[in-house]
């Protein structure tokens, strides 16, 4: 968390909401009594638009909501889902908390490290995969599991995970490999 932040520099590319997000932003302003309360929803819009939050994007959100840039930066650094660096096309978030560990998430970690050659917090050079270990995702009944591409992949086994990764690599839809969904 902290070491990444220290290397953060401006990209030089200005940021602004596109038309769709501007409309969403305007609606958000009507839903809360203070502009500050819109900080998290606005950051989500910005991150979804660009893929991650640049220095310019954070300044933009701060300015639109009349907040100091540093307070917005502090919020971004507090919440693990806000990313200040681009994630992979397939952003593997493997749960590592209690039940998932009991049910074999370390095998899955080994699989990822072996197949993709990256460890937690790293990204493949071609930008296809990023991998991070996350805490309890609220899916202990279908452990071990991961979150990737904005959805959960549950009841994972080494075999299923390998097939999902292969599908991603080959440009196929990995959902087809999501058997034993439970």
């Amino acid at each position: 968390m902290s070491q990444r932040a220290h290397a953060l520099t401006a990209t030089g590319k200005p940021f602004a909401f596109d038309a769709k997000n501007e409309a969403a932003f305007q609606k958000l302003l009507t839903q809360y009594p203070t502009p500050r309360a819109v900080v998290l929803p606005a950051l989500w819009l910005a991150q979804e638009q660009h893929g991650h939050l640049t220095v310019e994007a954070m300044e933009y959100v701060a300015k639109r909501l009349e907040q100091s840039p540093v307070s917005v930066f502090a919020v971004v650094e507090f919440y693990t889902m806000f990313k200040t660096e681009p994630v992979g096309k397939h952003d593997i978030q493997l749960c590592r908390t209690l039940t998932c560990t009991l049910r074999g998430c370390e095998d899955l970690q080994g699989t990822i490290e072996r197949k993709l050659g990256i460890g937690p917090g790293e990204k493949t050079p071609d930008g296809k995969f990023s991998f991070e270990l996350v805490e309890c995702l609220g899916s202990c009944g279908t452990a071990p599991m991961m979150r990737m591409n904005n959805r959960y992949w549950e009841n994972l086994t080494v075999e299923k995970l390998e097939r999902i990764i292969d599908a991603c690599r080959e440009g196929r839809d990995p959902s087809s490999e999501d058997f034993n969904r439970g």
């Binding site: 968390m1 902290s2 932040a5 220290h6 953060l8 520099t9 401006a10 220095v55 954070m58 300044e59 100091s68 840039p69 540093v70 307070s71 930066f73 502090a74 971004v76 650094e77 507090f78």
Partner: protein
Amino acid sequence: MSVNITINGRKIVAAEGALVIDVCRDNGIEIPHFCYHPGLGPDGNCRMCQVDFAGPRGNKLGISCKTTVAEGMEVLTDSDAAKRARASVEEMLLLNHPLDCPICDKAGECSLQNYYMEHDLQPGRQDFTRFRKEKAKDIGPTLILDQERCVLCDRCVRFLRDVAQDEQLYIAGRGHEAFITTFPGQEVTSPYSLNTVDLCPVGALTSKDFRFNSATWFLKNTNSVCTTCARGCSMEIQSKKDQVYRMRPRLNADVNGYWACDEGRVNYQFVNHDRIITPFIRRGVDTIECSVPEAIAEMRTLMGFKPAGQIDKPSTRRVVVLASATCTLEEMFLLKRLARESLNAQILVARHVPDGADDHLLRRADKHPNARGAEMLGLRVVDLQRGGVNEIQDMLGGDGVLLTVGFNTHVEAIAPLWSSAGKVIALSGCRSALTEAADLVFPGRTFAEKDGIVVNFEGHAQQLRPAIETRAESEWQIIDALIASLTGALPHPTIAHVRKAIMDGVMSLGGVDLLKLGLTGARTGQTVAS
């Protein structure tokens, strides 16, 4: 409304709504704390101020900074649980705290150090490699940040946001990895940034101005007043031998609260070098050092008086006495007497008011501490930037004698004057373009060496006290000596005598006793002397 409580069994009457930590302090019990500060209010995160509260179901720990007194409350500050809570918080803070004491500016005035000695004293049980963060990080023109030392008390954040109104620091991240930071690429530029160094209970925020200059325990403290603007913040001058090392604000509820601005704080460098200790006379390109009596004789000559020893008529030359609005009340009082009674001269008090408004907190556009004092003495104050210079030039008429007193800094504002004068006499403590142009220079004392009274823009009178010694005579004694040589009047034996004379002569002090101003001064009346 008052409330009856007990603290450690002792019956105490407290004001309704008071905080337990304040009531304890007012009754001689210092509760240790990091995040609380009376100028910022409580935060409740450091947990160091925990005390025990007796209750029907046994004692319960609570934070005294956020607990208000209630009727019948029983506070136990030294129960075993309270002591353990404090020692434990101290231990927790030391776990990841770097062992920087030997090189840390804060050593000697560090809460972490002090509380360890007062409340902990256990051997360390820390057994892992400390978590690393950024050290010696330049975060702006005035500050260096060490994230490892930070105890995350949030004081700097709250100060900049709530008091300085420049939210430029924040705690980012989470857990033990949280760190104080600016926005990437931005700096702390608030003109009040150095207050965060005072507020920081450890050495996380240090002042570039002071960094590594001195161990704090070698510094001598003197209670005095800042002279950088018309606010006159109560200050503590810290010095060693004949050098000023640091200035910090003192609490003064009537003037500056707990704070001071950066500009005033670091405006002491001029005290430490390029000083004039001995009078000198300029003959052509040469300067000849002389004694004060010799210099007074020269002054009489320049002004067209006969040599000393003879009581004279007023001078044959036109004299303009120009006092800086930095001069003290005593200096101005004596200058007025000199000008009006001895020299029959014009006397003006000049001040430097650059463009720019007073700000929302402390800083005043008037960059002098005593313009109000001048008004109270019945002197005319002119703004150099708004026609003051022209007016004085007219008075000098190309060949008058200009006697300047108290211009140590910002002398460029009066530069046109010494070209319009026939002769220039300067009472100045510091070498400057003025002293390079003057025909006769008397030494002067800076605020750090002076005993004197200044009155701020609200009429609040405070006493400067000397922090360092100097061989230079004080200005008031020089002026007094000059009056004596011209009129035969006896000089005042002490400055207290001058103060008494002021009190006898000046109506608008509103009953303030200049001999008893104390540490925080007193508010004078609003009327101006006729």
